[in-house]
Amino acid sequence: MLESYLPIFFMIAGGIAFGVVMLKLNEFFGPRRPTEEKFSTYESGMEPVRTARERFSVKFYMVAVLFILFDIEVVFLYPWAVSFRELGYQGFVTMFVFIVILLIGLYYVWRKGALEWD
């Protein structure tokens, strides 16, 4: 089983090596004529106003929270999907209970308006 993961390791290494080689080529062929304007932040031609690193809306955070919860659910669903036919009726019912409990949650979140982006 471990052998089948080896190509992934090499692929990641190969991908990084490819990127490094391309960047080095670029460094070799590309000019280097730094000016102050060139290295200033692009703000559609205007003088940059303050930094971009301001506070962000909590909405993004909410999306991430919802995502994690459903992501965990999906992780539970995958092994079930692979084996549920051997488990037959009983496996189906137990997963049905699991999903219904989470759908209650989805319904609640929906009614509370947490799924709205306004």
Binding site: M1, R53, R55, Y61, M62, A64, D71, E73, P79, L102
Partner: protein
């Protein structure tokens, strides 16, 4: 040294190095991004332990979910870079005492434990086996997990609602 030993040390170095950056970096964003490599290294170690399902779950939930949440959380704070990350050092002596006692205990346990080093039984399809176990032997914890997730969802909805009223 065979190939997997080399891979193990490579992954271990990545994990520990990234972990050190997380702990020691003054820049909170760097610390958060270094978590990525720590999680990735740990996932690799899981694969070496033949727990591939856990490894991929680790990537999926920790890198895809928790880390994004951490990053969003950091970006919610104003003036990210001005946050004083370092607190002053107080009570050095008791701290050293507690830490060395803890470390001593851990090392003691490490050396005195009779580690079992038999070869792992090769698993054919881990996901199917896990699915089967979840729905038979570990049915109750599995269903309780859904209740825990439900509670978390309701909590998330509450936070969102409060934000709306404010």
């Amino acid at each position: 040294m065979d190939l997997f030993t080399i891979v193990f040390y490579f992954l271990a170095i990545i994990t520990l190095g990234a972990g050190a950056v997380v702990v020691f970096s003054r820049n909170i964003i760097h610390a958060a991004f270094a978590l990525l490599f720590a999680f990735f290294g740990v996932a690799g170690l899981y694969v070496l332990l033949m727990a591939d399902f856990i490894a991929i779950t680790q990537l999926m939930i920790y890198v895809g979910g928790i880390l994004v949440l951490v990053l969003f959380g950091v970006m919610l704070t104003s003036q990210v870079l001005d946050v004083q990350m370092k607190s002053g050092t107080i009570q050095t002596f008791p701290a050293v005492l507690v830490v060395s006692a803890l470390a001593g205990t851990l090392v003691g346990i490490f050396w005195s434990t009779p580690w079992k080093t038999t070869a792992a039984a090769p698993m054919e399809v881990t996901a199917a086996k896990i699915g089967e176990m979840l729905l038979t032997s570990y049915l109750l914890p599995f269903e309780i997990a859904s209740v825990v997730l439900l509670a978390a969802l309701i909590g998330a909805a509450l936070i969102a609602r409060r934000e709306k009223n404010a």
